[in-house]
């Protein structure tokens, strides 16, 4: 970032020429995935499948050649744009995205759907581009690209409901993009630069940008798109969707707003409120969606807590979340693929025929619930520790409650209802091999990170000497989990637990789904009525004017008919008289 002064020229279509020697042969980190996406669009199925796996690897290899401080800028449309800016934060996210792309790619191997595979690659590429965007305009480009590419994963379901859902999703994200664009414009006007750096809340630009990022980040009240769209996607699409969009938003928050206090409270709210929805929700992928918001709440909170442990925690948790949430979504995807159902009320007892999937799912559940030795444990606690350390007791308590809630709905509810509970009688096949491989890798990573967190810590933006495995922490977490499990069991046995019902829970997306279209419709109707009223009025006036004119000027009218000569003579005399009068008056004066 210090290298802002030293710009390298970036020429389209050529290899990036960078500052430091070893990078000269490298492409822009987003390009491998994007190019692979474009190629895949035209490629036969086999090559496409190869690309799904190879492109992330190639991208990762390419990525590893970059080091912090690399900067590429180009002049485009009269603006000096920073296409690439490498630092630890961006690097970590980029690495994460490649990992996610690889996992999802493997997971997608069984499918032949060109649309999903291409969209997935492009989507991942866009996310990588977004985190390396050095200025707001480039960020906007990738931001919107994320939206466009991802929506195909929803549309790929090819059902009317998902089509509509995708359209809503796209609308929300384009709104976010437009806000980002407006924010960029304001930023440029206020500060004379488009460089995307940390900013203080206060300027108009910063608020607009926060709103833009907040939409993608699922801030409370802006979150509905996620629970609306993710469950609507294909089994494969949700895996992709879960990995990139929100994480890019977290990245943007960390980049622009670290240490902004309001984020702590926003994050707290985000961690809290989805729990209730998650509990009553039937669609298991939607449950995961709410749980996702809850997890992002931790990250947002961490970003709000600021430099050091807070941001580190947020980033680390984002990293882990992608993996374990991906794992959970993958397992649910496998269930969906094999049974065609996803509602908790329709599933159950699948462990009998899908034992591997069930096991892997439980690894994910353990991770998200932050069992010790699983990945969630090593990152979530960072945020909570920092909150306590900074003296936000309320926040700490709230996050504690949220952790319990997570365990409750994600850690227990998901595996329980899907694989155990009452036997639904379904006897599906075990998930395809490629899915199991992908889940296996994810599970392995969850455990690996949980056991050896230092590898992850080394990648974090701030130097850290955090140690998750001290006694207090482990004990406290285990107590929490135990009592949470106890509560679940009690509730289930006493029958107080809300039953799994077929229903669509509308929360604030009532506005998006019902109110907004209705308002538009009413507006259009009222406007139309006024418009046609005015037109009709005008037509009436015109009709009157026309009939008067016709009455006067038509061949039958006074001014349109030939006059008798006498009339003309009369007028001649009148005119003469008039002229005489005028001359008389004129000369008399």
């Amino acid at each position: 970032m210090a290298a802002t002064e030293t710009h390298a020229q970036y020429v389209m279509g050529e290899t990036v020429r960078l500052l430091d020697g070893p990078l000269q042969a490298l492409l822009h980190p987003a390009l491998p995935l994007l190019v692979a996406g474009v190629v895949a669009a035209l490629a036969p199925p086999r090559l496409r499948k190869a690309l799904l796996v190879l492109a992330p690897l190639w991208g990762a290899w390419n990525l590893l050649g970059f080091t912090s401080g690399d900067l590429v800028s180009a002049e485009l449309a009269g603006f000096e744009l920073i296409l690439l800016r490498v630092d630890k934060l961006a690097f970590l996210f980029a690495l994460l995205f490649h990992l996610a792309a690889l996992l999802a790619g493997i997971y997608a191997l069984h499918s032949d759907d060109r649309m999903q595979q291409v969209a997935g690659l492009l989507y991942a590429g866009s996310a990588v581009g977004a985190v390396f965007a050095g200025d707001l305009l480039v960020l906007f480009f990738f931001w919107e690209l994320l939206a466009i590419t991802s929506v195909f994963l929803i549309w790929a379901r090819r059902e009317t409901a998902s089509t509509r859902s995708g359209l809503r999703y796209l609308l929300v994200h384009i709104a976010s993009g437009v806000l980002l664009l407006i924010g960029a414009a304001l930023h440029w006007i206020e500060f004379g630069t488009l460089v995307f750096e940390r900013m203080d809340l206060g300027s108009a630009a910063s608020w607009v940008l926060l709103l833009a990022i907040g939409i993608k980040c699922c801030f409370p009240l802006l979150h509905t798109w996620l629970v609306d769209a993710y469950p609507a996607a294909t089994e494969l699409g949700t895996v992709y969707l879960a990995s990139f969009t929100t994480k890019t938003a977290v990245y943007a928050l960390a980049r622009g707003y670290e240490g902004c206090e309001p984020l702590i409270w926003i994050g707290m709210a985000m961690a809290m409120f989805p729990i209730f929805y998650a509990v009553i929700e039937n669609d298991l992928r939607r449950v995961l969606g709410y749980s996702m918001i809850n997890q992002i709440g931790f990250m947002v909170c961490g970003v709000g807590l600021g430099a050091g442990l807070g941001v580190n925690g947020a980033v680390a948790h984002a990293f882990n979340d992608v993996i374990f949430k991906g794992l959970l979504f993958m397992s649910m995807g496998a269930v969906l693929l094999r049974t065609g159902r996803i509602n908790g009320s329709e599933l159950g007892g699948l462990y009998k025929t899908m034992p591997q999937t069930a096991g892997l799912c439980m690894v994910g559940a353990a991770s998200i619930s932050a069992f010790p030795l699983f990945s969630g444990f090593v990152s979530k606690s960072m945020v909570m520790t920092e909150a306590a350390h900074e003296g936000y007791v309320v926040v700490w308590l709230a996050l504690l409650f949220a952790s319990a809630g997570v365990f409750h709905h994600a850690g227990i509810k998901i595996p329980f209802f899907a694989f155990f509970a009452h036997d639904s009688g379904l006897r599906p096949k075990e998930a395809p091999l490629n899915m199991r491989v992908a889940m296996g890798i994810a599970a392995l990573l969850c455990i690996a990170i949980g056991c050896f967190p230092n590898a992850l810590y080394a990648l974090l933006p701030y130097a850290t000497d955090y140690h998750p495995y001290d006694t207090t922490h482990v004990v406290q977490q285990l107590q929490l989990l135990f009592f949470s499990a106890l509560a679940f069991v009690t509730l289930m046995l006493t029958g107080i637990y809300p039953p799994e019902l077929r229903s669509t829970n509308l929360d604030v997306d009532w506005f998006a789904r019902r109110a907004a279209p209705r308002t538009l419709r009413v507006l259009a109707a009222v406007g139309g009525a006024i418009w046609y009223g005015v037109l009709a009025g005008l037509a009436d006036v015109l009709k009157v004017v026309r009939s008067v004119v016709r009455w006067l000027h038509s061949p039958a009218g006074r001014l349109g008919e030939p006059w008798p000569t006498g009339t003309t003579v009369f007028w001649a005399a009148t005119l003469l008289g008039l002229l005489l009068l005028f001359s008389y008056l004129g000369s008399a004066l």
Binding site: F142, E144, I174, A175
Partner: protein, 510 residues
């Protein structure tokens, strides 16, 4: 012959003027050639070949002017004295050159498309069609290169007249009614208001020349705002509500006409004129000052915003694809009026860029609408379910064009939206910023459902009957629309020629 030689020598003696003449006269020559080959020689192939050849030549001459103009020259060609207060004079400046480039380059593409469409559709009177087409393009180039208001007005009217036979091509009762609306609105606004505004301007300043920085400095703010309104509505081609009615009416025309003339030449000529008047008659700084001092100074902005939003909402409810696109055009082109009306240099540049980007995007959409008509014989969106699977190229291009219109990267529309938002923010016109944002969303709402409808999953069993007879449009239709879709992409990555040329065009005198 020697007289011709002398004339030519004179023309090319002054740098640039010969190229201006060539750019203007080639379309006229094309019209003559088309008439000759079509009516006298009666050879459709020769005729269409001539159209393309001359079109390419015309585009080449216009492009030839890029060199001198971007190096700061302003080639001019004084043709003759037209009336006191103005001469028939042409001056090539960046804005005009951009518009001329758009018109002449897209003419070639559209011609090719039109061959496919008209033949695929067995339309009658093709010679008349291509003849008027060429004249219309010549008129558009004349508007682009006009060196003063009178010249602009002359070609503006020529454009109206030459497109009338195109709009009413089918000569049916519907066409006649539409022609009345088209002609009535365009002519009455231009004669009743535009001309009055021109005369008023001339009276105030003693000239009608376009000059960088404008000529109206020092005029009282109230008069300026009144004049601005007169121009805004006088240039009826800009389709500000409620003078927009002609545009949906003009949709009775064959689709290539709708594509070129109502996405590129005619409406564009309108908004181009507004933009040019604001930048080179008012001067953005003069206008800005006036708007700040008058209570109702922002009135054109309000009208523009209203037009954008209401046109978009109306577009949402149209089932006829071309009508929907027409309303979209009204809304999108009000962007340019807004860009002019906020009176900031950046916004003006954004607006100028929007002329290019919208042209490429919208022509793609219209091409697609025509291709659907040729390939599937469908005009209503509700009947287009699933046709995308049979017409992948057409609907793919439609999707690309839609995204460009919405203003999403990596498509050209993003740049102009950025410029407009930047300019509006700079001028502190939050209403405009909000409108642009809302319009982006609304445009998603009215464009993408078409794509979704086209790619809707085929319903089992009965689906076979639904899209039976649907096939990809003829090659002559598909290639141009893919080309323009491609252009949308190219212009995103390579907007620099346009942005460089346009940088600072709205500024004061050097």
């Amino acid at each position: 012959m020697s007289a011709v030689g002398t004339l030519l020598a004179e023309l090319f003696a002054e740098p640039g003027s010969g190229w201006i003449a060539a750019g203007l006269l080639l379309p006229v020559g094309a019209a003559l050639l088309v008439a000759l080959l079509g009516w006298v020689a009666r050879s459709a192939n020769l005729r269409d070949g001539a159209t393309v050849v001359v079109g390419v030549a015309s585009a080449a001459t216009v492009l030839r002017l890029w060199g001198p103009v971007s190096s700061g020259e302003r080639p001019r060609w004084l043709l003759w004295s037209f009336a006191p207060g103005g001469h028939l004079e042409f001056v090539v400046e960046p804005l005009g050159l951009v518009f001329a480039t758009v018109a002449s380059v897209l003419w070639v593409v559209t011609s090719v498309y039109a061959f496919g469409y008209m033949r695929g559709h067995h339309e009658e009177h093709q010679t008349r069609f291509f003849c008027c087409f060429a004249i219309a393009i010549g008129a558009a180039i004349g508007v682009a290169f006009a060196g003063n208001l009178l010249t602009l007005f002359l070609f503006y009217e020529l454009l109206t007249f030459s497109t009338f036979p195109l709009v009413t091509h089918h000569q049916t009762t519907a066409a006649r009614r539409a022609g009345r609306v088209y002609f009535g609105i365009l002519l009455s606004t231009s004669v009743g208001l535009f001309l009055l505004a021109i005369v008023w301007t001339w009276w105030l300043t003693g000239t009608t020349d376009f000059r960088p920085g404008g000529i109206l400095a020092g005029t009282s703010p109230g008069v300026l705002v009144a004049l601005l309104l007169l121009y805004g509505y006088g240039i009826g081609k800009a389709a500000l509500m409620p003078a927009h009615l002609w545009l949906p009416a003009a949709m009775v025309a064959p689709t290539p006409v709708s594509a070129l003339l109502h996405a590129v030449a005619v409406v564009k000529a309108g908004v181009f004129s507004v933009l040019k008047v604001v930048t080179m008659i008012f001067g953005v700084d003069t206008l800005r000052g006036a708007m700040d001092r008058v209570a109702w100074g922002d009135v054109l902005i309000w009208i523009g915003c209203f037009t954008v939003l209401s046109a978009s909402i109306v577009a949402l409810r149209q089932d006829n694809l071309k009508r929907r696109l027409a309303y979209s055009t009204i809304g999108q082109l009000a962007y340019i009026v807004l860009g002019a009306a906020v009176a900031s240099q950046i916004a003006a540049q954004g607006a100028a860029l929007h002329i290019v980007t919208h042209a490429v995007g919208k022509i793609t959409l219209f091409f697609c609408a025509g291709a659907i008509y040729v390939g599937a014989h469908k005009t209503e969106i509700s009947t287009m379910r699933g046709i995308g699977w049979r017409m992948p190229f057409t609907m793919g291009a439609f999707f690309v064009g839609s995204l460009s219109i919405i203003g999403l990267p990596p498509l050209a529309g993003a740049w102009s939206k950025w410029g407009l938002i930047l300019g509006a923010s700079q001028a502190g016109e939050w209403l405009v910023v909000a409108t642009l944002a809302a319009s982006s969303l609304l445009s998603v709402g009215y464009l993408l459902p078409v794509v979704l409808q086209a790619f809707a999953p085929r319903q089992g069993g009965a689906a076979g009957g639904e899209d039976a007879g649907v096939q990809e449009a003829p090659l002559l239709c598909v290639v141009p629309l893919c080309l323009t879709a491609l252009l949308c992409v190219v212009l995103f990555f390579w907007p620099t020629p346009f942005t460089d040329l346009l940088s600072g065009f709205a500024g004061g005198p050097p």
